[in-house]
């Protein structure tokens, strides 16, 4: 490992590191615009100049590889003057519009000009001005502010895998644009807003909403998919103004999908803010007491098997736990399920339903087989990891089931179940790749588990076991869930076999929908309770509506598809008369005179941890060994894996209520219409 001296401090850095990284190891801050540790090196902003002994000119530290014995200075007069010069050039064409720029207050150029900027300009010619470019409904462009760092160009090409942004023309006329000014066709597009060091690319929905110093920042967890991306929720008063990613190398690195970032305006619309009861076929607003009384009048005396509880896709663990307690203690029932469509889950062992390889180790994979899943839409962040693996080691990707563009090349091997049987019989293309693979990964989606789930799961397990890829060092078996509540619900064992038949059974008298909007309920001869944050199709057919809190409005645990428990904090509070969901269930148990004795969130957590210690280990991957994993022999079957359309922008009720998501969907439709084939 080369040793270099930075301002007299000797540091040792790995071979292939850059001088800039060496300076950071030595604790020296190097200003930069174009350099970004997760993107390729461009070296075009020149802000990171440092002085190097035996070099007559200052060197761009971001692009200079470290060599043994280099002596670097970062604080000499020469460095300061060089950076001042660079800054002066950058500011020549940068407009002085910080007061009307959304980046103001969190702008790299603004910050660094405080240190390296000169107080007046020597430039007397006309500044250039650049026409705004259309980049879709999320990205607002003010291209005159652009300093051509090309971070957005590199992001689109490398991370997002949609090489649609580029720099056209040259010299003074260089402009950043999308090809023929089309919408950026990516689910990660809005990350270029964070990457842009100036105010050239800013957020369109958040335009002129607030200044960064006015916002209250709360660290939380995203619930739009089962990835559990780490987010920061920025609120001003009650309103959630924006959602930004938090760095977590094990999950989302520092990216966030467009839905996670921009569905937050759905938190302001379509909200349930007061209880409703249905009288003479019409929903009427009422008080909590009336609603509770209405419920108990209607369902008192029913036996446990007459109830069914459906848990929705955005529900936190505490609420689900409370729901389970409510069903057990108050209604003496265990008819609860978290699924909205019937897909196979084997809760007997953790490895059977988790993303066992873990998201971060996906990078090591040299073969990925997708079984009935479209990771681009179902888990955008995981798709970005697969792409990262593909870029790093040319990972071969196969898909069973046609899933469209995934942003990296893959081979579709048809959608028949027999494709799996073929690998098991040591035949075919996938087996040939598997033979030479060292770290293969099988990812099974909910579509893959829907019609003949047991066969798919057991066959994949057997394939991996036969080839010795199912051990405690490398577990290539991955289930990709779609919903944030899924794994938590499986941990709580909220599963009921044949639950759809039960739900449609005529003997069923009451259905309690806990934020369950996707499940289809026939409102015939049933008393339907809907508890949730947003009004949707299921709240319309409900007899009672109990307004609950959305994910930013309560503290709660969420378990992502890896089985990682994460704590989401309360950033805001429920609107109007709405209450946090566990409190509603607690109050309702009072009405039935069978009080669940939990009065604070803390006690709720203690109870939860006592009954399910698995939730105690927050932020950690579950320690799972495959020692006790059982295998089953399944008979081969015919048929196909059916990939159901996944409506990315409308996949849950918050996103469906969001105006921004609606615009995104329309933009996407226009893109597909005019598309690349006119």
């Amino acid at each position: 490992m080369p040793k270099v001296k930075v301002d007299g401090i000797e540091v040792e850095v790995p071979q292939g590191a850059t001088v800039l990284q060496a300076c950071e190891v030595a604790g020296k801050e190097i200003p930069r615009f174009c350099y970004h540790e997760r993107l390729s090196i461009a070296g075009n902003c020149r802000m990171c100049l440092v002085e190097m002994e035996k070099s007559p000119k200052p060197v761009a530290s971001c692009a200079m590889p470290v060599a043994d014995g280099q002596v670097i200075y970062t604080n000499t007069e020469m460095v300061k003057k060089a950076r001042q010069g660079v800054m002066e050039f950058l500011l020549i064409n940068h407009p002085l519009d910080c007061p009307i720029c959304d980046q103001g207050g969190e702008c790299d150029l603004q910050d660094q000009s405080m240190k390296y900027g000169v107080d007046k300009s020597r430039y007397e010619l006309n500044k250039r001005s650049v026409k705004e470019k259309y980049m879709g409904p999320l990205i607002k462009t003010v291209m005159t502010r652009c300093i051509h760092c090309t971070r957005c160009v590199r992001f689109a090409e490398e991370i997002a895998g949609v090489p649609e942004i580029g720099a056209i023309n040259r010299g003074e006329n260089m402009e950043i644009t999308t090809y023929l000014e089309k919408t950026l066709d990516s689910e990660l597009s809005a990350n270029v807003i964070d990457l842009c060091p100036v105010g050239a690319l800013t957020s369109k929905p958040y335009a002129f909403e607030a200044r960064p110093w006015e916002l209250t920042k709360t660290e939380s967890i995203d619930v739009m998919d089962a990835v559990g991306s780490n987010i920061r929720v920025d609120t001003k008063g009650w309103e959630v103004k924006r959602i930004l990613p938090r760095v977590n190398d094990e999950i989302n690195e520092e990216w966030l999908s467009d839905k996670s970032r921009y569905a937050c305006d759905g938190l302001l619309r379509n909200r349930l803010d007061t209880p409703f009861i249905k009288i003479n076929g019409k929903l009427q607003a009422c008080s909590w007491d009336e609603a509770f009384k209405f419920i108990s009048d209607n369902i008192r005396g029913l036996t446990g098997d007459k109830f069914f509880g459906a848990v929705g896709d955005l529900v936190d663990v505490e609420t689900m736990y409370m729901f389970k307690r409510f069903f057990k203690d108050v209604l003496s029932s265990d008819n609860i399920d978290f699924r909205s469509t019937n897909y196979f889950i084997d809760p007997s062992h953790k490895a059977n339903y988790l993303f066992n390889t873990s998201i971060s180790r996906l990078e090591e994979a040299d073969l990925v087989v997708l079984v009935g899943t479209n990771p681009r839409l179902e888990a955008t962040i995981i798709n970005a990891r697969i792409r990262k693996a593909y870029l790093a080691r040319k990972t071969k990707v196969y898909s069973i089931g046609d899933v469209g563009d995934l942003t990296y090349p893959y081979e579709n091997v048809g959608s028949s179940f027999s494709a799996l049987g073929e690998i098991l019989a040591k035949n075919g293309k996938i087996y040939n790749s598997l033979k030479s693979a060292k770290k293969p990964v099988f990812i099974i989606g909910e579509c893959g588990l829907s019609s003949n789930g047991e066969y798919v799961l057991e066959t994949v397990k057997k394939i991996l076991k036969d080839n010795n890829f199912l051990n405690n060092d490398w577990n290539g078996l991955n289930i990709l869930h779609q919903n944030a509540s899924s794994v938590g619900a499986i941990y709580l064992n909220l599963l009921k076999s044949n639950f759809l038949d039960k739900l449609n059974d005529d003997t069923l008298k009451a259905v309690y929908l806990l934020g369950a909007d996707q499940i289809k309920v026939k409102p015939v001869n049933k008393f339907i309770i809907y508890q949730g944050s947003h009004g949707g199709l299921n709240s319309k057919i409900a007899d009672v509506i109990l307004p609950g809190a959305a994910y930013t409005e309560k503290q709660g645990l969420y378990v992502n598809t890896e089985g990682r428990v994460q704590d989401a904090n309360k950033a805001s509070f429920p609107p109007g008369n709405a209450k946090e969901d566990w409190k509603i269930l607690r109050a309702l148990s009072d009405e039935f005179k069978k009080t669940i004795d939990i009065n604070t969130h803390q006690i709720l957590r203690e109870n939860l941890f006592k009954d399910y210690p698995i939730f105690k280990e927050v932020d950690q991957l579950p320690k799972s060994t495959i020692d006790s994993l059982t295998f089953k022999n399944v008979t081969p079957i015919n048929g196909n894996i059916k990939i159901t359309d996944f409506d990315f922008y409308f996949s849950n009720i918050i996103a469906a209520s969001s105006k921004t998501m609606d615009e995104c969907k329309k933009a996407k439709q226009i893109l597909q219409m005019t598309g690349t084939d006119n």
């Binding site: 090409e157 090489p163 649609e164 580029g166 056209i168 006329n173 090809y179 023929l180």
Partner: protein, 198 residues
């Protein structure tokens, strides 16, 4: 100078003709298959030659498809280099060099002639739609300045008289012989040979 002018009226499709398709095959042989995107510049040139000396967006797309390169990357190259035209030019496309040596030798007068004979504004088609002109940077013929390029040919050692003749030739579809307009051969000195006389 401003950014490249891209035509508003674009043809909807573009196909290389059979001769050019054969040429593309030949060009692609020069590069290793995994680096075939290097052929972007010769292909753009082919497209330009086939399509009345300008490249429509449909051709950019076509080239992207042939080379397996994103369209924007081809577009970047096409807008970067000055010799790719992205909007229609005349059948006679006049490029007048106005870099220092030519300027000192009187390229300003040639530019004035262009304005008089072709069009008042640079880059605009003439009234008979037959020709257009632009100013360009050094074309590497400083020794015979001032000069201009018409399509592929250099017209050097220009004077107002000889240039006028050329512009009239453009109008009548009959150009004089390219090269030095005062009969110089090679780069021999203007008056008499000095260095390698014997």
């Amino acid at each position: 100078m401003s950014g490249k002018h891209v035509a508003k009226d674009q043809p909807t499709s573009f196909e290389f003709n059979t001769t050019n398709q054969k040429r593309i095959e030949e060009i692609l042989k020069k590069y290793p298959p995994e680096r075939k995107k290097s052929a972007v510049m010769p292909l753009l040139d082919l497209a330009q030659r086939q399509h009345n000396n300008w490249i429509p967006n449909a051709a950019i797309k076509k080239i992207g498809e042939i080379l397996g390169v994103p369209y924007i990357k081809v577009y970047e190259v096409a807008t970067f280099y000055t010799m790719y035209n992205l909007a229609p030019v005349g059948k006679y496309f006049v490029q007048v060099c106005t870099t220092s040596p030519c300027m000192i030798r009187g390229s300003g007068k040639i530019v004035n002639l262009c304005k008089k004979y072709i069009s008042e504004k640079e880059g605009k088609l003439s009234e008979d739609k037959n020709s257009s002109w632009i100013e360009v940077e050094c074309l590497g013929a400083c020794v015979s300045a001032p000069m201009m390029q018409i399509n592929d040919d250099f017209y050097e050692d220009l004077t107002v008289e000889t240039a006028t003749k050329i512009f009239e030739g453009i109008k009548n579809d009959k150009l004089p012989k390219p090269g030095s307009q005062k009969g110089r051969i090679g780069f021999e000195p203007n008056k008499r040979l000095t260095l390698v006389k014997n």
